[in-house]
């Protein structure tokens, strides 16, 4: 037994070195790439898969950052987060029917009113998340319910939101702009649609704004402190309920935007968010719960792994790839790559 303990201490010390977590991250990214190369996938194709993976990763990151903040600050696994993404995507669709339709902003497939809808989705989805909190999570929180009961409530909320979407929009695949061509163009030998570049750019911009919020504002610091240790934060005089309110607005809004991006990239369907749930949690766990930068890195790894593995695996199993990576991390480093022991 002493041997096992010494082994664990050694491993713990190893993880504490600054270069080990990034190296492990690199290993996780390279693993599917090497597997694909071994299956005879050409370097050109691998490059474009990695770039598509980065785009998927940046969509995932917006969802995962919200999820990890909620997870860290309110201490429960929000299984409704994927369905908040779906809600955001459909809310944008609803607003497109209300707004007058302009000419397409070439080279993109969308028009000006889409950007207006995108701007409105952020507060609306955030508000929806806040409403669920007011009516469901907060009463349970005040009753000092166990985190697992809150997770169960989130599970119920997920089905509630999804059944509303089924009821209002039906089970079929929908598109923001039906019949509008979405041509791809070649950028350095990689086929990309302009929409995808837009998604990537917007996601990076939002992540940067989020970084400013978390690092430079008082609210951001309070959020990070609460995610780190809620009891200590409360002792220091941080109003945790107000932090919770902003967390829902921010996390819900980000989820909504990432849902719209997902819908713009492919199509809208009521289960789109549920299918994202596994990659989202994989990203959060990979990066360590409550750590937004970890979630960002985790999302990139998962996004790239999912796209690259599609070259040698049935793409239907993409959630399975995220799941396998998550189990791998749970076995090697349960607190996440950037997490601390006992997290």
């Amino acid at each position: 037994m002493l041997g096992a303990r010494r082994w664990r201490e050694q491993v713990g010390r190893l993880w504490a070195r600054p270069w080990v977590p990034p190296l492990f991250l690199l290993f996780l990214v390279l693993l599917p790439i090497l597997l694909a190369a071994q299956q005879g996938v050409s370097p050109d194709r691998l490059l474009s898969l990695v770039i598509w993976g980065t785009m998927l990763g940046s969509i995932l990151a917006l969802g995962a950052i919200g999820l990890t903040l909620v997870y860290g600050i309110l201490r429960f696994a929000n299984f409704a987060h994927g369905d908040l993404m779906t809600l955001g995507a459909y809310l944008a669709l609803f607003m497109l029917t209300l707004l007058p339709q302009g000419p397409p902003l070439r080279p993109f497939s969308f028009s000006l009113e889409f950007l207006v809808a995108l701007g409105l989705v952020f507060p609306l989805t955030g508000l929806a998340a806040l409403l669920v909190d007011r009516f469901l999570y907060r009463p349970l929180r005040f009753r000092r319910a166990q985190p697992v009961v809150l997770a169960m409530a989130a599970f119920a909320a997920a089905f509630f939101v999804r059944s509303l979407i089924y009821l209002f929009w039906g089970p079929d695949f929908l598109f923001y702009y039906v019949g509008r061509p979405r041509p791809a163009m070649e950028v350095f030998g990689v086929l990309l649609r302009p929409d995808q570049l837009f998604i990537l750019g917007l996601a990076l911009l939002l992540v940067f704004l989020l970084y400013l919020l978390l690092e430079k504002t008082k609210l951001g610091k309070a959020m990070r402190a609460t995610a780190d240790n809620p009891d200590l934060a409360r002792t220091c005089g941080i109003p945790t309920e107000r932090v919770a309110l902003w967390t829902w607005l921010l996390g819900g809004g980000l989820a909504g935007i990432s849902g719209v991006m997902l819908g713009l990239d492919a199509q809208l369907r009521p289960e789109m968010g549920w299918f994202m749930l596994l990659p989202l949690f994989a990203a959060v766990i990979l990066g360590g719960i409550g750590n937004p930068y970890g979630a960002l890195a985790g999302a990139m790894v998962i996004g790239i792994a999912q796209q690259v593995s599609a070259s040698f695996l049935n793409p239907a199993y993409a959630p399975g790839v995220a799941f396998v990576l998550m189990i791998l991390v749970l076995l090697v480093r349960p607190q996440g790559i950037f997490g601390r022991p006992g997290g």
Binding site: A77, M152, A157, L167, F275, M326, L330
Partner: protein, 396 residues
Amino acid sequence: MEADTLIKSALLALPLAFLLLSFWPGRRALAWLAPALLLALLLHWVLPTGLLAYLVSFAVFASVFALLSLGLNVHWGYTGLFNIGIAGFFALGAFTSALFTTAMPSGALALYSQQAFGLGMPFLVGVLSAAILSGVVAFLVGLPTLRLREDYLAIATIGVAELIRLVFQNERWLANGPQPLRGIPRPLYCLTDGPSCDWLPTFLHPLFAGLEPRDYPYLYLVLVSAAVVLVYLALEKALRSPWGRVLRAIREDEVSAAMVGKNVFAFKLEAFVVGAMIMGIGGAFYAHFLVSIDYGHFIPLFGTFLIWVMLMLGGSGNNKGAILGAFVIWGVWTGTAFLTDTLTPFLAAISEDLPARSPYLRYLFISLVFMAILLYRPRGLLGEEKTVSQFMENAK
């Protein structure tokens, strides 16, 4: 009195006796058979044949869900394991039993239907294999996750359930996915067909002569209710044993349980495997009644969420509650199908798209029920009974 009424009443008497037995347990279980038979005859006399047949097949489905809900009770009710991937074990049990009991498709059928193997084994072997395979998968899932925080198990079970469904959807060679796997044998079906069973002694043939193939649910109800009763009795025994007490200790306070020297991880793993095995059995019973199954039956809403609502409504930690919840929620689920049918004209008045989507109203309703239970009655209808030991039955 006609022969078919008599045999159907006799078949109905068994599940009714089980029901009476669970409400008024006594030493002599067989004593309930006579009143149950009378009750069954009375039901035949009072209710129209169609309605009774409907109730019987309703009870079959509700009993299958009772099995799943009992399995979940071992996970959540006893041990506090948050499994939201019930659909995975449900599907695994159903497909495993189907593969073990069907014959390999041959001739022209082989062109349309593929499966990895078809052993043509008896029904009970199928059920057993379903339980074993579900248990093995639960063991493999539990091994890396049960040592960690409780919500990691939940995420892992979602993952496994999705993965199992994806496999049965995409792998044609395995179980004919995405097409349904057809021709799953119905146990004792030959009794309703003549009877044409070759193992049945000839002098018993007249007894079943009144049965027709459409009366099959009566026979199946006997089988599935027997399974429910066996699982129920075994779980009640286990709950009152030292093993069950440790599980509840872990649920209440893991650290204290570890402090008195219990291997928390091992007990959790045992409970997880046992619960998953019961879910696998439930899946097997589902498959053999439906004859044809596909991956679409095992979507999270139907295969996981509904069962959670059943357990939470009935009262988690209470096996009677798990069974009661299954019957009530299955009643609500099938009942709301009628309700949405009658609502159709009103829905059409609101929007022309709505009537086609009215099935989703029940999803909405069930999720509202679940949230209401969590907020206003977390202990469910029956709540947990205070049980200490089988030797202190009356200690309250």
